[in-house]
Subunit: 292 residues, 6 copies
């Protein structure tokens, strides 16, 4: 008989096969526990439409459950990573809220529409597995919101970045103003957010926005596949713990973060994986970590 955990896995796999309107989700090689989520509206330069905002959290929540997904790559079909929020999505949100003749009621309604969009992007952080962004071409507006919510970012030399919401007369509200300063420093972040200027892959690397620049989109794909596979081969307990503790510590004092990780490790330190890692190191062989 199946445990409830096994049932959950089977249900997730089935659901995954049903597909997504705005995304393609694939495990390229069944023997490698890595999944790719592709933004899949290349004709629209992967502009984020309303389906995207329900597809992404759904996909990530399914991958969260699958033992065959130990690392996730967020990439894009077509020459561009993402050109930002789709104007149709923006209009749909605004028209919904403008129906109410009372401006305060409209505002309450509008707030109720913005929060789920934020939650959709934050699903990348809630996903317990590491999510790596692979970026080519344009990464602007909502694309930056998406990228900075990932754990690590890589790009090809043709990539460029712009927090361009300000040019649409908008205050960016999907996370760039919160996450970017912690990644590139507060000065670089204000510069980018106020001027909306475009930066190259190299400048992005210099600021710490991406961890490495690959020579071409193809090199990017191969390089990121290798990195993701590397993550997938590590101890799942350690990778999940490292992601969770980094995120929690980002928003806490150093001391609170230390107390948190001490508590975390009082449960998670004594793993079979640790025993295996120590043994493998002594026997100078590759460790064979347990599935999760």
């Amino acid at each position: 008989e199946m445990t409830s955990t096994e049932k959950e896995v089977i249900a997730a796999e089935k659901e995954l096969r049903r597909g997504f309107a705005s995304l393609e989700v694939v495990q390229k090689d069944p023997s490698i526990p890595v999944y790719h989520i592709y933004l899949n509206r290349p004709a629209q330069r992967n502009a984020l439409n309303l389906s995207f905002f329900s597809d992404l959290p759904r996909a990530l929540s399914l991958l969260s459950v699958l033992p065959s997904a130990r690392a996730v790559v967020l990439a894009a079909r077509g020459p561009h990573f993402c050109s930002g929020i789709d104007l149709s999505a923006l209009q749909s949100i605004s028209s919904l809220s403008s129906l109410n003749p009372d401006p305060a009621a409209s505002a309450v309604l509008l707030r109720r529409r913005i929060v789920p969009l934020q939650t959709a992007i934050s699903a990348i952080e809630r996903c317990r597995k590491p999510v790596v962004a692979a970026i080519q071409g344009a990464c602007v507006g909502g694309g930056v919101d998406l990228a900075v919510a990932c754990d690590v970012r890589f790009c090809s030399r043709d990539a460029f970045f712009a927090v361009k919401e300000v040019d649409l007369a908008l205050t960016a509200d999907l996370g760039s103003l919160q996450r970017l300063p912690r990644i590139v420093g507060y000065g670089n972040a204000t510069d980018l957010a106020l001027t909306g200027r475009r930066i190259s892959a190299e400048e992005a690397k210099g600021m710490g926005l991406v961890s490495r620049v690959f020579d071409s989109p193809t090199a990017l794909e191969e390089g990121v596949d290798l990195i993701a596979r590397g993550l997938a081969e590590k101890s799942a307990v350690a990778v999940i713990g490292t992601k969770a503790v980094l995120l929690r510590s980002r928003d806490q004092t150093v001391e609170d973060g230390l107390d948190y990780v001490a508590t975390w490790n009082s449960a998670m330190l004594m793993s079979r994986d640790l025993v295996e890692a120590v043994a493998a190191q002594m026997e100078k062989r590759k460790p064979n970590f347990s599935k999760m």
Copy 2:
């Protein structure tokens, strides 16, 4: 009949024309809504004296009100941006507090003198319009406190920076120890603050302390004018919102910052400027944003 807002504007303009002991405040071109605040004691290398600490918040509070000030440049007359706090100011503060024979009462009094100096510098953040620093020559001690309170910083190749308070036997108390680490990272900030060492424009750029290095003071002036004009042409609602949300989010968790911007945008998203921006983009023309 004039509204109270209009009266406020006229009063501010009048007050501005009365001038400032330590500053020069000018709108270079009446058709361009950019104001320049110049530190204007070049003979003293723009050392910050007591008038400066009342002039600066007064100037910024007036510009906060003016629709013709959509961006502010903080620059300096003479070859140096700012050589730090004026020794006379320091002496005035200390003698005031040493008058009281009770050391505790002296300390209370001294504290009461330090806080307004901090408040004067923080007026740059309280100003709702973006403030861009243009830095040439020396930017040391109080000059760094001033620079790091600005939203974005640019400099010329001859600029140099030093958190030199430690060499005056002082713990810097006007903001560098708080703002610098968020801009250049905690390691660079401790290095600069403990050693007091001087860094070049290039090193400052590498750390993220300035966003760009111009080849000469003249190039700096022209370049920053262009950038400020660019900011002034954007939607005022979006620029005000972006500055306000960045500042608030700097001091909050990511999640609190997201909630804050969702609330902000429930009021500020549905602007005429947004409609205009979308229309202009579709008609491939420059948008014509409303005044504020």
Copy 3:
């Protein structure tokens, strides 16, 4: 008759002479108030064993008291700075906690063992004097925890860094996940912590992890000696204040940090050292600061 402070100093000097199992603590030149703490198990590539975790806080607490220690260098004997936590220490911790047949009691016990290890590393921050790391060769795992707790870091060109806990199936719990993001930015920190990849001295410099790269271990030693001497020559009140305020402000909002430093300086601003610094500057001579 001796004051209790003088007695404390004499007791600390005596205790220091008794030495440490894992460390060597020396004042190279009695006329220069700088102490060096050397990790001193070069045969084990300075792996951190259990004695280290009691030696380090003990050494730092003694140096905290000594007027002859105005700056501290944390360096290492042998070609490598530190290869991480010693497996024997790890086993000792885990076996202690696995003795209890109740997994929850084990966890409570394990937590009780982790916290003092964290406290030992954090002793570097609690030490009121500045602590400068001089790093050559490997600085991995626990070595990074150690380095990022120092106030400033320097290395030689042969140095390399890796947050390699993840490869031992561990969630790093001695501070790297908390302190590294504030030093190199959140994106670089997640990259390093999740992939465990090794970075060179140059890459470390680019991220702000070290403040300068010296050409060789010898150049490193000489360079850091000079820097430490420079710190030791500054006003002790100012250096202690700068370190304390930077650390407190790291974990607070900008505004709380400003209030804190105003309060600090209401006591510490009016020092004899300030008078001396001003006089020395006017007389264009070296200041002669008081001992503490």
Copy 4:
């Protein structure tokens, strides 16, 4: 044609009619926009089983959408409000996690089971409408977690309260240790949580745990119905805003809370309801607020 908001309402009403395994959700009088959620397992003294933890957030999320639900009463069928978590739920959680032979993997799995239980309780806070608890008989263990997540609490004289998790050898993890101290003060909360002692309705009132004690369960029902109706007659914009701002301000500094409510009200202050309230007050009649 229906707007998407109208469709959402109809879907929610339909879903509500399908019912819940552990709850009964009713609108007693179609002309009064108040819903009651009854814990509905009186034979088990309303012990919280696994369905409860999915039923409650589902019910609240549906009511969040309904204009006919402007206030929610959380009450219980039978003589007792709630006897705590069902042992079957506890066993199900623990057996799930004990399946994995690796204790660390078990812990990760267990953590993954605890979080959704917490989220289910916190759904009361996420529900934008006010939720009022009506408590008779036993309110112990998980019952207290539930009660303290409500906005206001009322009880009958026969009610009693106990944070009894400690007697099950548990550290309460569904919110009592977080929310109770803010309601009754830290001293009362530690007393209750460490001793697990039972307090009467009167003592609960004295501590501020309940706002009023009614003489009997019948009086409680009538009294709370009246109060809920009162809430339902108020301006929805004002009630939603008051709940949201109170919750956000609970976890922030006073100053951050003031900034938050200023931002909130920049959108929500200028409502039709305000105009109506002022008019009604001048005309000395009952206001007629808009639906939401």
Copy 5:
């Protein structure tokens, strides 16, 4: 010749004599360093009009400077303390902002009007001297915002309290939602803020909202005079420090608060007042503390 501090005092006294549109500020007895601020629009039940919001911070800032004001009583002329914000003030704020046809610009403008009102109330906390509220009759809406910003509150038996903003279709934005929960507990605060219900002096005492209930307005006046005189006779350094540290600690962790007060007292502990207090205690006489 006068010191700048003496000049400041004389200027403040002069300014004080010019009076206030909405307030009466008096020192009842020149030999007792206590000032009374009376809300002075009894015909309007002391409703808070626009002048009030500029009068109050001005009055408090003047008293902050006067050595003859060592304690401040906030009281009211007429039978009622305060009936809340004046509708004219509310209309003035809303009409100002509704002038702009762009709803987002209106919101920005409205926000700019709300913040100074909050700042006016918070001036009570910024005033370094203790402010004691003496409350008779109605204390509702804005009256509660005012009362909870005071350091201590007393009332007469006829007093009653209501957070009645919700009945004006408003989310209270002048501090009640932030300060009340810390005074009466979160449960009592939500009850009062959501229901808007009126509570008696006795109930207010039971919740900790007032510290004592006097039998009549006359008894209140006499009682509070005595208490204020008691405060005025204490060491000014100690009273200023206690107020400042309590306020700062309210918004910090216990540990941060301890660090803050240690820093505070490193400056303020060693006062002449302490020496005098110890001497007076030994000589069993009243201490004679220094002026400030």
Copy 6:
């Protein structure tokens, strides 16, 4: 052979037998795992001298290790609990710091003396076992600092309380200003701290400062013994967890607290004690929890 944990226990017991200058530490009945710490300078009304500040943390750290100490009672010999800090201690601190002619160096030194006094009081919170205060007679000044650091407080009818530091011209710096507001509410705390007024046992109970008032010192002793025994009979894992989570959650947002306890329980939920508690409950017998 003994484990290192067993050795630690034996060393602690030996050390305990050596006794303390200012305290008496006893296990009244060897069969009951409760220890009493008595303030033991009744002739000085248990004024806190310098030995006390080293004795208390030492005693608590020893009891932290002992399995035979599952609950701790903090009580006092003689008619009074504690009359506050000893003037000799105060003088010793101040004379130490006044030795240095530089006021800033004095302040640094003084700060270094205050912090360990705070740490000594906070040792009550760091002690993992619950600490219950039993208070008769005077509990003033430092006595209140001591009492509010305990987990729960009980008193006899003759007890009285006063935060009397203000009357010594001091800003209380040992924790009352931080902990008291969370226990009795911010309004009651400011009242007590600013006026220094004395409150009776009954008033203390009404504010939540004590959990129960016993009729006499003898009744207090017996009552608290019973309560402590009750705590000692509970599951140690649950009691330690409850204390730790309450303390951590006090200084965090509700959400952070929930995440923390979920992490805590991922390690500590699945205890043998839980199995035993469930079994005992089903078999309607007293549980027999494991030692720790």
